[in-house]
């Protein structure tokens, strides 16, 4: 039985898991949908109730009926490397590939349907609340007046991107940024805007959930530091225990989302409360593993290598 890893060649974080699987002699196929068609190929046939399918890349051929699991790591857009790429070709190849994989009994980390839902910030906040996390008051709006009222109510607020930075060249970043409540909110009418009450934090917490296993890491925040991803103030990530209440909420969240993997970000305040900020269903883990030594790649490999249940 084979593990299928959907990712790009340059994704060195995936290498951590590839190496774990190789060490355990677990068959694997690393496949980038961007190489389809061309360097990679697929074929599937539905005949008289039977279903067969194959994937090939770099001289390897795997039957989809032999897949035990699929790890959606950082796949390229289907057909992105085609000689004449187009939205239509991406749709054709994407539906053929993923439709074929959906037809198997393989376990997913994470299923693209669940991933699509879990990327949505409003869904994340609602689900986090239902799961029992502390969630900062948040407004997502295109109404400047609503933004102004939110700022007046909570005084100290931040702005975040809803979906991530735009794909522009040169690339830009949109760090979480504190906003003066007297600022001009007219630009809110030009795009959905996410405002959130600022949580003065003593530390950033990154909790990585792999199946049922939890790996939490803590990094002390510098005075006034808002977005822990940006700026280096001499603080490193260190492993930290997971409070029982948080562990229960994480498991509830993962169940509600149908997720096998999630990287949770929390802000720890001076009372020790972990405030839910977001859960990245495909979040990075390499930087945590490198700094803390937590065996996250090994846990992913263990989950992927487990026998499928159906």
């Amino acid at each position: 039985m084979t593990v299928l890893i959907l990712t790009s060649q340059e994704d060195v974080t995936a290498d951590l898991v590839v190496a774990e699987l190789r060490e355990r002699n677990v068959p694997l196929l690393r496949f980038d949908p961007a190489d389809l068609p061309g360097q990679a190929g697929i074929s599937t046939e539905f005949e008289r109730g039977d279903f067969t399918g194959y994937l090939s890349t770099d001289g390897r051929l795997v039957s989809v009926n032999s897949l035990r699991s699929v790890w959606v790591r950082r796949p390229g857009q289907p057909a992105a490397h085609a000689p004449e790429p187009s939205e239509w070709l991406t749709a054709e190849c994407g539906q053929a590939l993923y439709g074929m994989l959906y037809s198997t009994e393989a376990r997913w980390m994470n299923h693209p349907g669940a991933a699509l839902l879990a990327r949505s910030k409003p869904w994340q906040l609602r689900t986090a609340h239902r799961s029992g996390f502390a969630v900062p008051p948040t407004l997502i709006t295109t109404y400047p007046r609503a933004a102004k009222e939110f700022a007046s109510q909570f005084k100290d607020i931040v702005v975040k991107t809803v979906s991530g930075p735009p794909p522009v060249n040169p690339p830009i970043a949109l760090p979480t940024t504190r906003i003066d409540p007297e600022t001009d909110f007219s630009g809110v009418a030009a795009g959905a805007t996410l405002l959130q009450r600022y949580i003065p934090k003593t530390a950033d917490i990154r909790l990585t959930c792999v199946g049922g296993r939890l790996f939490a890491a803590r990094k002390t925040a510098a005075s006034g530091q808002v977005d822990g991803r940006y700026g280096f103030y001499g603080h490193l990530w260190g492993a930290v225990d997971v409070p029982d209440r948080i562990a229960r909420a994480v498991r509830e969240y993962m169940t509600l989302g149908g997720l096998a993997y999630g990287a949770f970000d929390f802000a720890e305040d001076e009372d020790g409360t972990w405030w839910f900020l977001e859960c990245n269903q495909g979040g990075q883990f390499g930087f945590i593993e490198l700094e803390t030594g937590q065996p996250i790649a090994a846990a992913i490999a263990t989950w992927l290598a487990a026998p499928r249940t159906a």
Binding site: K160, A190, Y230, A263
Partner: protein, 63 residues
């Protein structure tokens, strides 16, 4: 009118121009010029920032 969130954009960190490893199709992972797996060199990984929390921001939704 510029969307409000873009008023707070900053230039993204650029990846180093030269990544000191390349993909090896036989091994299905990236290797250094001397043939060692890239993941065996912690310094390379940290220097290239390929595993950091913002590494995927340029091409993916999740950090």
């Amino acid at each position: 009118m510029k969307p409000f969130a873009l008023n707070h954009a900053v230039p993204a960190d650029q990846s180093p121009a030269v990544i000191p490893y390349s993909y090896n199709a036989a091994l299905q992972l990236n290797v250094l010029p001397d043939g060692r797996p890239a993941i065996s060199d912690r310094g390379v990984l940290l220097e290239c920032g390929t595993t950091t929390s913002t590494a995927g921001s340029k091409t993916h939704f999740d950090d």
